[in-house]
Symmetry: C2
Subunit: 185 residues, 2 copies
Amino acid sequence: MNNDSLLGFALLGLIFERPMSGYDLRKIFTTTAMGSFSDSPGAIYPALARLEANGLVRGTVEESASLRKRRVFEITPTGLDALKAWLTKPVTRDDIVRGIGDLMLRFAFMDRTVGEARTIEFLEEFGCEIEGYLPSLSEFLEVHASEMALSARLALESGVQEYEMRLRWVRASAAQYRERKGNQV
Amino acid sequence: MNNDSLLGFALLGLIFERPMSGYDLRKIFTTTAMGSFSDSPGAIYPALARLEANGLVRGTVEESASLRKRRVFEITPTGLDALKAWLTKPVTRDDIVRGIGDLMLRFAFMDRTVGEARTIEFLEEFGCEIEGYLPSLSEFLEVHASEMALSARLALESGVQEYEMRLRWVRASAAQYRERKGNQV
DNA sequence: GTTGCCATGTAAACTGTTACATGATTTC
DNA sequence: GAAATCATGTAACAGTTTACATGGCAAC
């Protein structure tokens, strides 16, 4: 009954943007910047089957003339609800500690689904959580730096730099959204 | 027979630094900057059992006075070989596309295991792969920016900025290693 | 006519998640 | 003596990887 894997939501979000076949989705993972996902059929086709079993997408075999058989999936109203629910989840500390990839995926899908107001809120929550986490990470580095191996220390510094970079990005992005919103009024 | 999961190597690397129990390892994942790993016993204890079954670590029950029973694991020569083999694997395009977390973990363990020369080599390979990948990502962004939703474009820009940041980090780190090496001669 | 791409899927093995279970020891 | 922490583990389930399997169509 559950379908909360990141791959499932990635598929759902892409299918929302336009109806697609399993093969189309695979190609997106191999050829575009979404290369962090597996393009293996053993991951994608079962994930699509789960989405369909849960009523989040509906696949129909395309029969247009001389084309090979293709099952094209489109999102259902239930599926759109599930997508929106996932996108509007509050940002937690855990989300940023366990890797920000999930958050970035959610953000990428936001613009055409949950609206600007919520997108800006998301960025604010994102920024708050980084601001809450970064000092503890810096402090840990400061306290333990002397006893750590050079490579371990540098790896940790890289982590700190990544959070700092994301924070700058969050602020710049929020500014862009506010500007756009302002222009529309 | 296989034990190539990232968690397995994380445990192996930590146990190499000093012998530890499963509980110690869990605490590292909850309390230190290695929070990207799961601290659930259902992940760690089976992973330790696999490492032991493959002869990479050896667990002995500590019987010191009035302490609770603790199984303390230490690395075996076979385990050290496996750790070094993992650490010295060449850096591939796939490593940087699928997420640099694995590479950073490998780097963090390098200093005390494979030596400075190999660590510098690793950084050079790392830098080369980013330099090879970044232009294609920037180009993709340039070509598709106009047709993308704002949030999707910003998410992609964040990805580009991350690679740029890692590249700066790689260069600065390599410089530190070369400097240290120079000082020793 | 064979190589390569389009397109879909399955099966076994492995890994990780969630939740449960147990019991000892320290602290209040 | 109750609660928190130390410490180890198991069981059911879900998801991914790897490898295999199939067949149509297009180009050369």
